[in-house]
């Protein structure tokens, strides 16, 4: 049996749609209920919803053989997993944004508000820029408006939240989408099932 961790929410529904199109089915998974585990009729597949940021933990620790996780979470946490396929859904980008007309201070570290401190450190280290990371857990757009940070680094989908708050993208540096990931040991011992699922999903992605 393959254990599959799916991210709760809109992205998870999109991904489960891909699984259905690829011929997988776990009855009851789309119904509102308190059930946590959903098995396919033939017992070859077990799906479960988890918080999107926890998918990689379930997979890295082997509670799930396979999972679907945003590239932002993978880049931030760097889990020891295999990343088998770009599913091409949940597309957005990681970008730095600042108030319109922003001029970068040259005489001090750049203050960066973000929920992704590791991605930010790596990005600015590659640019050779000295920064002060301000780790926030939500409403990141507020930080430059109140002078908490100079810029923010966050996920940008349409840019409407930025525009509504007088912010604009100044550096668009990491494309993000949902990725099919696998536990490294499961890949060794459930190779046939994992490869088959990867190929069937790949066919769906290419068709789309």
């Amino acid at each position: 049996m393959l254990n599959v961790a799916l991210p709760k929410g809109r992205l998870g529904n999109q991904v489960y749609g891909l699984l259905e199109q690829a011929g997988y089915d776990c009855p009851g998974i789309r119904e509102e209920s308190r059930r946590l585990l959903f098995d396919s009729a033939d017992g070859s597949l077990r799906c479960f919803w988890v918080k999107p940021s926890d998918v990689s933990v379930y997979v890295e620790r082997g509670a799930a053989d396979i999972g679907v996780c945003g590239k932002d979470i993978l880049a931030e946490n760097n889990p020891r997993i295999y990343e088998l396929l770009d599913l091409g859904v949940g597309k957005c980008r990681m970008a730095a944004a600042a108030p319109k007309g922003f001029r970068e201070p040259a005489d001090r570290p750049l203050r960066v508000g973000t929920s992704f401190p590791n991605i930010v450190r790596e990005h600015y280290a590659a640019l050779g820029r000295d920064i002060d990371v301000i780790h926030l857990h939500g409403s990141v757009e507020l930080a430059p408006l109140l002078g908490l940070s100079d810029v923010i680094v966050d996920i940008v989908e349409t840019g409407s939240t930025l525009r509504a708050n007088g912010l604009e993208v100044i550096d668009d540096f990491l494309p993000i989408s949902a990725r099919l990931i696998a536990n490294r040991a499961s890949y060794q011992f459930k190779l046939k099932e994992i490869r088959e699922m990867t190929e069937r999903l790949k066919a769906q992605v290419e068709t789309a």
């Binding site: 020891r80 590659a126 040991a185």
Partner: protein, 367 residues
Amino acid sequence: MLDETLLKREERAMLALRSLYRRYGYRPFRMSRFEEYEFYMRNKDYLESGRIITFTDTDGKLMALKPDVTLSIIKNGMDEPGCRQKVYYDESVFRVPAGGQQFREIRQAGLECIGEIRLYDVYEVLLLAAESLGAISDRFVLDLSHLGILSALLEETGQEESFRRKAAACFGSKNAHDLRDLCVSRGVDPAVTERLCRCASLSGPLPEAVRELEGICPPDAADCLEELRTLSRLLGDTPWGERISLDFSVVNNMGYYSGIVFSGFLEGIVDTVLSGGRYDRLMQKLGRKSGAIGFAVYLDLLSALRSDEPEGDPDILLLVPGDADPERVAQAVRKLTEKGRSVSVQEQIPAAGGYGKCVRLEETESC
């Protein structure tokens, strides 16, 4: 007489591994648990985690609890032309495991073969890696790859160090899609990109995968491919041939490792149980002229395997009044233990822990 069923799985494994390594002429290597901190600082990049437990010795020297064994073995050996230093160990190291947050004592066993490394030595170490896994469970996979081929492929791209680091990370996570995007963004030749991506996805039984590699391997790495062909033939003649795969997601630290690198997995354990490879570059960085190859088995991970070990519960819980005649109690216990039963003498049934059968002192005759 040693009752092996009382040993923990990792202890049984270590006994089997010691016997195995001795059969191939490896000698035990004993070492102190401490090393000067400065030694690790000079070689920090080699360690999986740069975090080390330190303390100040009585003479004021800053010392470290060993986070690694290989560095100490290299430090304490000498180059001897034509000879190989063959050692095995069973030691605790203290470090933050990959993906972990806290220090842990990690028990690991392993071996190192140091000297003029020939193809036979590489085969022998790979065979011992497979045998080590097989001694624990026959449901294992040993993945191997060749960093000489990966280096030659990366060389073909003509790209600088940061590209190579990112590309190697893509190999490590079997991420051919981001590798392709990276190559396209850097303007790498499409034919080279194609070969890189095929190689990143390559994994399978050694003979078939080596044949597929023939269409991927750059001419500069022809000797590496020949090495893999020979190893495939030699390992194919062992009982473990079908459990050995070629898989280019094994990349290790390319700054220290070169040539063959490998990782072992046991069914039921979610992490790499065995890790090793040829580390000639580390030897050079430590001022040694010899080559070296070795591996470590992470014995502490074995506790995740389904336990077939006794729980420690006694067969008989013997309930004895506090004022019972000690001679009568001793006689009852002796009778039961002579029948091969384990006995715990108690006045009341303890709240915690289990037992096979509860017997009162006056009932022991019928047991």
